[in-house]
């Protein structure tokens, strides 16, 4: 599956279908694929399930996607923020579904999807609201909750550099969910600060190997 270098974010997000599950990288603004989200808004896919750590900030990016009513459901760990008014209003008026997932389960469930794990027993959340209705099991005297993979149709992630083959490196804490989401979606689209020639990245330092990356686009905007 050869990685395609796209000229624009619009080319990169072409073909995303209504009803898709879209994994969106970033933790706050760090690693957030802003240009891809803006292109997704222009592209028009709707009835989406968005999987991301947060549920949008201010009026741009994910929040703008939500405001346009393109999102049926959000799966995230922390929707409530000082500036999450778009989500807050949609949620309080019953116009969006929410699945709150502990942040570690969010990451591990996507890893499981990428790694071919059918389900796993995890101690997080045992005995809490977020495990209600879920299967549990005692293992060596500890209670574990059975958690299932979260697989994406598409992942939109931000990275620092890509080579032309599609290998990715990240920068500092902007790495966050990108490498995990890249393993967990059928089509992985990366927005990068810079595209370099194949061979320019040290193979020891590649974080997301090219096998996981379908399309890359270099950011147009200033950082």
């Amino acid at each position: 599956m050869t990685t395609r270098l796209c000229a624009t974010p619009d080319e990169a997000v072409a073909g995303i279908e209504d009803g898709s599950t879209v994994l969106v990288g970033g933790f706050g603004m760090a690693g957030m694929p802003v240009e891809l989200i803006d292109a997704l808004i222009r592209q028009g896919a709707t009835d989406l399930t968005v999987v991301s750590n947060n549920a949008g900030n201010g009026d741009t990016g994910l929040a703008a996607l939500l405001a346009k009513r393109r999102v049926r459901k959000v799966i995230c760990s922390f929707p409530r923020q000082a500036d999450s008014w778009v989500f807050d209003d949609l949620y309080r008026t019953g116009r969006i579904e929410l699945e709150v997932v502990p942040q570690g389960n969010l990451a591990e469930r996507m890893r499981a999807a990428g790694a071919g794990i059918g389900a796993f027993y995890c101690p997080t959340g045992a005995g809490t609201l977020l495990a209600e209705g879920k299967e549990t099991r005692e293992i060596d005297g500890r209670t574990y909750v059975l958690e299932y993979p979260i697989k994406g149709d598409v992942a939109l992630i931000g990275a620092h550099r890509a080579d032309r083959m599609g290998n990715l490196v990240y920068r500092k804490t902007a790495r966050n969910f990108g490498p995990v989401m890249a393993t967990a979606a059928t089509t992985v689209i990366a927005q990068v600060h810079e595209v370099v020639e194949t061979g320019a990245l040290d193979p020891e330092t590649v974080v997301t190997p090219s096998i996981y990356v379908d399309r890359i686009v270099q950011e147009a905007g200033p950082r």
Partner: protein, 228 residues
């Protein structure tokens, strides 16, 4: 191997309740040198300001970093380098970056020595409630709290002992939705420090309150360390 013991200067026991900076200093004194520590968002981040520069304590932030440095000052801000509260921070020599699944594997696998979390309530059995008020119109948001609560070797809570209206936050049973069961080891408050374990709840320090007053204001059975 246990973390190195580090010479500490105890906070002098006060005749007055502690402020949040005093509580943070107290917690910092109880963190052994060389420990790997996660400081929850909000007040627990103040603990970092009270760790001696030579403590060797290594701070973890769940968004994918070990050996996080202090908050970034003007001119140091890098949008790609923040803590879990999304505040710009710095990196120290010997830092390492990793992705979210690796970061939470580290937390959930029991590799952190200590995490310090805020709380709405802690129960006598060490149950923690810190993510949800249970109010019907509240938007639930859990972040990494549940992972930290069950993952760190020791969970320290930093909170005021009473709400503004005087309701105790150390309670027989939590009435707020739980974050984790039986996970809290120690509770640092403005009025006292509590160890929680198989022995029950034991008061190890008090600040501006007598043991009798403390026992009278809490519904939790208490034992007291010698000398209190």
């Amino acid at each position: 191997m246990t973390p190195n013991d580090r010479a500490t200067t105890p906070v002098t026991d006060r005749q007055q309740p502690l402020g949040k900076h005093d509580i943070a200093a107290l917690i910092a004194q109880d963190i052994p040198g060389g420990a790997f520590v996660n400081l929850g968002i909000g007040q627990p981040t103040l603990v970092a300001d009270h760790l001696p520069a030579d403590s060797g304590v290594v701070l973890h932030t769940e968004n994918g970093m070990l050996n996080m440095g202090p908050a970034a000052r003007d001119g140091e801000v890098d949008p790609d380098l923040t803590n879990a509260g999304k505040v710009p921070v710095t990196e120290l020599p010997g830092a390492a970056y990793f992705h979210h699944a690796d970061s939470f594997a580290m937390m959930r696998g029991g590799h952190l020595d200590i995490c310090v979390l805020g709380a709405f309530q802690v129960s006598a059995a060490g149950d923690l409630a810190n993510w949800h008020t249970g109010a019907p119109d509240a938007i639930p948001a859990v972040g990494g709290a549940m992972d930290l609560a069950i993952g760190a070797k020791k969970v320290f809570v930093m909170m005021t002992l009473f709400t503004k209206d005087g309701t105790p936050k150390l309670v027989p049973d939590c009435t707020y939705p739980l974050t984790g069961l039986g996970c809290v080891d120690r509770v640092y408050t403005d009025l006292a420090v509590f160890d929680i374990g198989a022995h029950g709840v034991r008061v190890t320090r008090t600040f501006g309150i007598t043991p009798d007053e403390l026992a009278a204001r809490l519904e939790v059975p208490l034992t007291f360390a010698e000398g209190l």
